[in-house]
């Protein structure tokens, strides 16, 4: 019995932790800086020395801030716009023109990349490392010349050129498609008298830590499919792993695939142009200057070995850089068009990929059909419930027969009045001999859990829910319901959330709580009194836990509960009618 209490206590504390996590998300303290600010060692592979380059880069950043603004070349596709910084050959200005930050009509477009001298530096950069130690290669301060005039637009590539003055000419030929993909061909033409050895690389670098949802069913941080395997490393794991291994959280040679840094909805990633090209890929983190402000996150891909370029020859490396929204159809399309292995896994489908992905596709199809994403959620839930209905119904088919057994059951209850365990045992024996059983069994329930979890996950990660309205007061299904019980749904002129993030109890969460309470009333009460008490509080706990969740998810929960209740009610009525028909005099049955 003591052990039982202990486990009950453990279960409760897990519940409290979950709630705490949800409440805490709003005001998370900044994570601790790593014990020692890791400095990059200059030694081993050329890629390591050049690509992440901590201290020289830092100095350069300070120097850049003091100088005149860098020359830029603009680019534009139907879905994004920005500019290439000609100083350092990096794309550090990129917005997604079809997505806005907020619902306000004058809201700015979603920004992915920002320059180093501004807020939230985040950029993609292409470069070379000198492997022979004497070839002069471009660095972060190099001013490139845009050979092509005008803007970089689809079907019109742009060439950047730099002459190192020692016989080598470096070129980067950028091209864009009509969506989110930038292709870069790095070339070095050796006009010198001796062979040179250089190592081309591309990197995505983020010099700030974004606020993350911090929820365990959503991955944010490093992600990529390397050698056919999805490799996800969260920001905090990369920080601790980087501190242990001199800034490298993960490093491996991989053929094809892709790697990048992901947010809930957005991704910046790099990949080779040729699906059979092998590149050395790394996830890195270093801390410059301590605290979260000093966090530097980097994904880089480099040739596995330096290119040996003979006099008169040209060495090349072709890579692509994706910066955009993780729309499932778009990623699928890229995966097929460019042979990018596992590119759809940029969306955090999780363990139930085989279920979540079809749900995604059906949900989007329904959303297109009905014109409202909320309605699509309701319809898909109905469809899944309907698919499981025969299972639930099968169990209740024997219910009518049960009624006939009622006198026998009463007799058992009377006989073992003082021993409910024995009574239940006898009851089960009776069910068996009469071949009836009121319960549907544990297996059907266990099968349903992953299905409903997959649906839940689909709704959690899908970008198509973003900024989509539902009926009434819900303008954005991906944001928490804005109404609040604590100011009487707007009757009182203040925002309780300003006092404390705890004070948020939206209308849809209350609806969800009520439906859950009703549904649990229909379940048999557990025999164990502690369990019964825990269950009685469960709707309350869930109401609070889900209060700050995206509205679309709460609506789904409420709807799912409602359907469960309706299903149970229907089956019970059906069974009662059947029992009545059986009892009616003159009925041959």
């Amino acid at each position: 019995m003591d052990q039982k209490r202990l486990f009950a206590a453990i279960a409760l504390s897990i519940g409290i932790l979950l709630i705490f996590d949800t409440w805490n998300r709003a005001n998370q303290p900044p994570p601790d800086p790593p014990a020692a600010a890791a400095q990059r060692p200059d030694a081993p592979a050329p890629a390591v020395a050049a690509a992440p380059g901590a201290s020289p880069m830092q100095a350069e950043a300070q120097a850049t801030a003091l100088r005149r603004p860098a020359p830029r070349a603009r680019f534009e596709t139907p879905l994004m716009a920005g500019s290439i910084n000609l100083r350092g050959a990096r794309i550090d200005d990129l917005v997604l023109t079809t997505y806005r930050e907020t619902l306000a009509p004058d809201s700015p477009s979603v920004r992915i990349f920002s320059p180093r001298d501004g807020q939230n530096p985040y950029f993609a950069q292409w470069g070379w490392t000198s492997a022979d130690g004497r070839t002069l290669v471009p660095d972060g301060d190099t001013e490139w010349t845009a050979v092509t005039v005008g803007r970089l637009v689809p079907e019109r590539p742009m060439t950047l050129r730099w002459d190192n003055g020692q016989g080598q000419i470096f070129e980067i030929i950028f091209s864009v498609d009509s969506q989110y993909m930038v292709t870069a061909e790095q070339r070095v033409r050796n006009g010198g008298g001796e062979a040179i050895s250089v190592l081309p690389w591309v990197r995505i670098r983020r010099e700030y830590t974004p606020p993350t949802a911090g929820f365990f069913i959503l991955h944010e941080g490093f992600t990529g499919v390397l050698s056919g395997r999805l490799q996800e490393v969260t920001f905090s794991d990369a920080r601790s792993e980087g501190a242990r291994r001199a800034g490298t959280a993960l490093e491996q040679e991989t053929m094809g695939g892709w790697a990048g840094i992901t947010d809930k909805y957005w991704l910046a990633a790099v990949m080779p142009v040729a699906p059979d090209q092998t590149l050395r890929t790394a996830y890195r983190h270093v801390n410059e200057g301590g605290g979260t402000a000093g966090d530097r996150w980097q994904v880089d891909m480099a040739a596995p070995e330096p290119l040996l370029v003979a006099p008169g020859a040209t060495g090349t490396l072709g890579t692509r850089m994706f910066a955009g929204a993780k729309e499932v159809n778009l990623l699928n399309d890229y995966m097929a068009r460019y042979g990018i292995a596992g590119f759809d896994k940029a969306i955090d489908f999780g363990w139930f990929y085989f279920l979540v992905k079809p749900f995604f596709l059906v949900l989007h199809w329904l959303a297109g059909l009905t014109g409202n994403f909320g309605v699509a959620i309701l319809l898909l839930t109905v469809a899944i419930k309907a698919a499981f209905f025969p299972l639930a119904n099968k169990a209740y088919q024997s219910m009518a027969k049960m009624k006939i057994l009622a006198p026998k059951m009463q007799e058992i209850k009377e006989r073992y009045k003082d021993d409910p365990q024995k009574a239940q045992q006898e009851m089960m024996a009776l069910y068996r001999s009469e071949k009836v059983n009121p319960a549907s069994g544990c297996l059907p329930i266990l099968i349903q859990i992953p299905v409903f979890f997959a649906l839940y996950k689909t709704l959690f990660v899908t970008i198509e829910m973003r900024h989509q309205p539902f009926f009434g007061w819900i303008q954005d299904l991906s944001a928490p319901d804005p109404t609040n019980l604590f100011n009487l749904f707007g009757l009182l002129p203040f925002d309780p959330m300003e006092l404390s993030p705890f004070l948020h109890m939206p209308a849809w969460a209350l609806i969800m709580g009520v439906t859950m309470w009703v549904q649990m009333r229909l379940n048999p009460t557990p025999p164990d009194p502690i369990q019964a008490k825990v269950f009685a509080w469960m709707p309350v706990i869930f109401t609070f836990m889900l209060a700050s969740f995206p509205a679309g998810l709460i609506i789904y929960w409420a709807w799912n509960n409602t359907l469960s209740v309706a299903q149970q009610y229907y089956i019970m009525r059906h069974e009662r009618a059947a029992a009545k028909a059986a009892k009616a005099p003159g009925n041959p049955k």
Binding site: K4, A8, N437, G441, L443, I445, M520
Partner: protein, 79 residues
């Protein structure tokens, strides 16, 4: 009781206080699947206990009559 058994039993208890509340108890047997699992883990250890519990859950479906089904004792005849 070794560590693996304790951990597995902990999982079963966790299920009983959380998930079971959400999805409801639907077992067709006596003792219920979770009681059966606890008993099987105690009597037969982590590996056999887990396998027996898995088998029990597979049996617990609408096409099985259900009813009384206790964990066989440690000396149960084999085969």
């Amino acid at each position: 009781m070794n560590l693996a058994v304790a951990a597995l039993k902990g999982c079963v208890h966790c299920y009983r206080y959380t998930l079971r509340g959400v999805i409801g108890a639907n077992c067709r047997f006596y003792p219920s699947c979770s009681d059966y699992a606890l008993e099987a883990l105690s009597v037969h250890g982590a590996v056999r206990g887990t396998l027996m519990s898995a088998g029990r859950i597979l049996r617990c479906n609408p096409w099985n009559p259900g009813g009384y089904d206790a964990v066989p004792g440690p000396q149960a005849p084999k085969g």
